[in-house]
């Protein structure tokens, strides 16, 4: 099977800012690919190059077998795009925008449009200027998901959605994958990518720092635990998958690989847990932990 997207050595500068600095990205046909990076990493810029909105300074980009800058109109028949910051025409209703974008792409499935409107709980009769950020995003999402296309390019599509709607969004993406569509999903939230994606590319400062399946990137998915125990714990440091342990009397703090979370919790329970907080590490923390040397070295 060919790759839906393949990008190699991509460079794009804006004045003195080097937004992309030799970026690599491969998205296989039929997969949901997470495009992960902190704010300003160059996700939107990459996507704009792929859509033929920006012209790269160097490197190659292939989209659905074509050149995104030259074969724009032909390629755009086969994809749908949700921008990171959705702005609507103030005088058009959400429903009108959905239909317009769908028709400009070459058609919209009326049944799916109705279902999606209901699932996202979106009122299509409101004018563009009265929608909140989340609702503007829903308009773009419904237009994209109701289109009959091979490739979905979604730029941080959940940044304005509430948790309930994020869940709806996840269900929709899972269905799209079952229907065989390819999805490029950019995000700066690790947990979101973890829940949805087959493979992930992690970028920072315009470069790809890691890419692979979730299993291959398992070392990234740790949880930070802080707990207060009834007694001073013993034997914790012998457990596999446990990192950065700090023991302060009955109080402990450590990170644990998610695959070993169960064992570690059993051990803790044995000591009598008074309080426990856990949180997934932020992307920034991960970068600090894993890629610092690499970045310093470069």
């Amino acid at each position: 099977m060919t790759d839906a997207i393949s990008v190699s050595g991509l460079v794009k500068t804006f004045g003195r800012t080097r937004a992309l600095d030799g970026l690599e990205l491969t998205v296989r046909t039929g997969e949901v690919h997470g495009f992960l990076g902190p704010n300003g990493a160059g996700k939107s810029t990459t996507i704009r190059v792929l859509l033929g909105l920006l012209r790269a300074d160097a490197g190659t980009a292939t989209l659905l077998g074509g050149d995104p800058w030259r074969d724009t109109a032909d390629l755009h028949r086969r994809l749908a795009y949700v921008p990171g910051e959705v702005t609507l025409w103030p005088s058009l209703t959400g429903g009108e925008v959905i239909d317009l974008l769908g028709r400009l792409r070459g058609g919209l499935d009326a049944g799916r449009r109705a279902t999606l409107l209901e699932r996202f709980d979106l009122d299509p009769t409101k004018k563009g200027r009265t929608y909140s950020k989340g609702n503007r995003q829903k308009v773009a999402l419904v237009a994209a998901l109701a289109s009959d296309v091979e490739l979905l390019i979604l730029d941080e599509p959940t940044s304005g959605l509430d948790p309930l709607m994020e869940e709806v969004f996840r269900t929709c993406i899972a269905e799209e994958r079952k229907n065989g569509r390819t999805v490029l999903l950019s995000s700066h939230i690790l947990a979101e990518v973890e829940a949805l994606c087959d493979r992930v590319s992690i970028i920072r400062a315009g470069r790809t720092v890691d890419t692979g399946t979730l299993a291959e990137l398992r070392h990234l998915t740790r949880t930070s635990i802080t707990a207060e125990l009834a007694a001073t714990p013993t034997g914790l440091d012998a457990l596999p998958g446990l990192h950065d342990l700090v023991v302060d009397g009955p109080r402990v703090r450590f990170d644990v690989d998610n695959e070993h979370l169960g064992d570690v919790l059993r051990q803790l329970t044995g000591c009598g847990v008074r309080s426990l907080t856990s949180q997934p590490p932020t992307l920034e923390e991960l970068f600090l932990r894993h890629y610092e040397e690499e970045l310093v070295g470069s």
Partner: protein, 527 residues
Amino acid sequence: MSALTGTRHLTRLAFRLDRLRLPVWVLAIALLPMATAAQYKQLYPTKADLDSVRAVLSTPALVAIGGPLFRVSLGGLTAWKIMSTELILIGLMSLLTVVRHTRTEEETGRLELISAGVVGRHAPLTAALVTAGLADLVAGALAALFLLATGLPATGSLALGLAVCVTGLAFAAIAAVAVQLTENARTAIAIAGAVLAGSYLLRAVGDTGPTWLSWLSPLGWAIHIRAYAGERWWVAGLAVALAALLAALAYTLAGRRDVGAALLAQRPGPAMAAAGLRSPFGLAWRLHRGLLAGWLFGMAVAGAALGGAASALTDQIAVNQELTDMLARLGGSKGVTDGYLGAVFGIVGLVVACYTVQATLRLRAEESAGRLEPLLATRTGRVRWALSHLVFAVVGSALLLAAAGAAGGLAYGAQISDVGGQVPRLLGAAMVQLPAAWVLAGLGVALFGLVPQATPLTWVALVACLVLLELGALLNLSRWIVDASPFAHVPKLPGAEFSATPVLWLTAVAVVLAAAGLVGFRRRDIG
């Protein structure tokens, strides 16, 4: 926290955001009267020179355009010549400033961010009014000072500055009410702008006959302060009272609504798009049609009013042979009326060019707002999208000129019982302006395609054309500067002979500029 907490902070922010825009407005408004006075001083050095122009300046058409000439003196003439322009400029500056710092902020959601901080309920409105009010004050004071510097009497200079300032305050308050009525900044500008245009019309009609109409118009008040002609200071009080009253109304209305909401509630629209909304052109039609319809109505009314004034002018002047000869010479044409009509349609051409530029610059507005990106991610090609908007600039301008010309021809023709003859004549006088307006559209496209950040300079070019038309002859500018305006090349129909050469040249320039812009647009980055 009081309702005004944070006002000072917001005012400072407003001045910072406008640090370039406001000084340019204020300086233009302050310098214009001085330039006019200096020029008249050169043109009419003696009392006898001044007296000789009196008869011409009291003709109804000129009174309609500039207001009555109260006293023939250097100051009186200066006030007469520049007052209308000054008042329109200060009105525009004030209303745009207030809308920008209230509705625009609210619409873009920036205000929500600010309001979440420590900012009182009425702080944004107050900050906007203070910003506009200070700008008005400085503009008026500087205008008075500069006039004084040319040697004009202090009382009159002060009165002119005061008239300018209080008119600005009145329109700042009018805008403050307008922004409470609608959720949309553009609509608020349209409402306040319509009040400004209506005030001008009321004054124009009132000054030529039913005087009481002028007294319904803030612009009329400013002119009837009578700078340099026996000042009537109390008239300024009317504008101040109106400003205070409307500001109070604005605060009351603002207290009754939510952030982002408006008094004229938003009606729900269709849940499905109509069949026509399926192409870039279908979208452009939706985006342009309201503006175009408003302009069509306005230009038809203006054309009818100007055409209707023509025959009154002829009657008035026909009794005076000396004057007839003189105006015929001035107009460079066969008769008084044709000279007048030629001048009037020259102005109509420039006014229509405002629409042309507005419609053209929609391209950049759509791109900057981020609404172009999702469209270009569909099958829509760049050039096709651009052309769908440009159709409105190109064809819309033609429709507007046709409306003004046809309405003028009908009104004038009906009065001299020659509708069949005058409609085509005045239609021609209007339509001949079209290529000059197109050149501005071409310039707009060229900037948009090649130097997108500089696209707003198209407005500067339009203002330059206006200044060259108004002041070019007066300032004795060298020929090639005046010729930089495309409007300088338009044959002065209906009096002068039609000549195809300049029309073809202007059209060619417009096409070349637009083509260069489109080629640039195809190659450049979007965003």
